[in-house]
């Protein structure tokens, strides 16, 4: 089970940002130019992302742009977030700082009543994240 994000033309920029935060490489990236010739896609949309897959921890973050002919432009909601369980406090702080840069910190990293070091933010592209580090101490 993976999370799939839809964008309105800036999918590549968003995923490059995530790669700069988490490191690693895309498992797969393809544009509409590489799709079947009969796709209803405009010239300007041909270099938009048809599918991208980015290994992140135990799963994959996937995404694409949505051509205007496919359906209405994606609307950013706030009924979900991507939850990350990092492996150390240092990693948590570093990634949280990078990810929230230019965005909004919703709850700063703090020890919470359920025993984890937790914080949440909305990145500059409107995607919500939670960091939850459960220390073994």
């Amino acid at each position: 089970m993976n999370i799939y994000l839809f964008f309105n033309g800036n999918c590549r920029e968003v995923f490059e940002f995530y790669r700069s935060v988490f490191g690693g490489d895309f498992a797969f990236v393809t544009t509409f130019r590489e799709g079947p010739g009969d796709m209803d896609v405009t010239e300007e949309e041909l270099d938009n992302i048809m599918h991208i897959s980015f290994p992140l921890g135990s799963g994959y973050l996937m995404g694409s742009d949505v051509p205007a002919s496919f359906r209405p432009p994606p609307v950013v909601g706030d009924n979900f977030s991507i939850s990350i369980e990092p492996t150390s406090v240092g990693e948590t702080e570093e990634q949280f700082a990078k990810l929230s840069e230019g965005g909004n910190v919703i709850t700063p990293l703090e020890k919470q009543f359920w025993g984890a070091y937790h914080g949440s933010c909305i990145d500059k592209f409107g995607i919500s994240w939670q960091f939850n580090y459960s220390s073994q101490e």
């Binding site: 839809f6 706030d78 009924n79 359920w114």
Partner: protein
């Protein structure tokens, strides 16, 4: 590092997760209500039975969620910029899951063989959550 999808609801989180459990089977790994939270949570009696956290293993990953009482912030807004992508082990399983998930919801793309080599379909379930089902073959 683990990666999880976290969904927010407006009071019907338990109903939604029970619906998913009726489809994918298995058990919740953890479910707690605000009644079980710290006593200083400023919540009215009728909100105390709402879900503070639910964690539900599906396949090799975990779907998590909670309700979002208005005391904590604005009501979650349903967007159209993400979906949950599930890879099925067989066409039969994909067909069965797809039929159940889309029951009372909307089929956005019926299950069909796609140019990228997968048997694929997408739907929005009756609670407004978007799903993609994919079977490699």
């Amino acid at each position: 590092m683990s990666l999880t999808i976290y969904l927010y609801f407006n009071g019907n989180c338990r109903e939604v997760f029970e619906f998913y459990r009726s489809i994918f089977g298995g058990e919740f790994e953890m479910i707690s209500t605000f009644r079980e939270g710290p006593e200083d949570m400023p919540l009215p009696e009728d909100v105390l039975n709402q879900v503070m956290h639910v964690s539900y293993p599906i396949g090799s990953s975990v779907l998590m969620g909670s309700d979002m009482p208005s005391e904590f912030g604005p009501t979650p807004v349903q967007g159209s910029n993400f979906s949950i992508s599930y890879t099925s082990s067989s066409r039969e399983e994909a067909d069965e899951l797809f039929a159940k998930l889309s029951d009372g919801g909307t089929v956005t793309m019926p299950m069909e063989d796609q140019f990228w080599g997968a048997y694929f379909g997408s739907c929005i379930d009756k609670f407004g959550i978007s799903w993609q089902l994919n079977t490699e073959h």
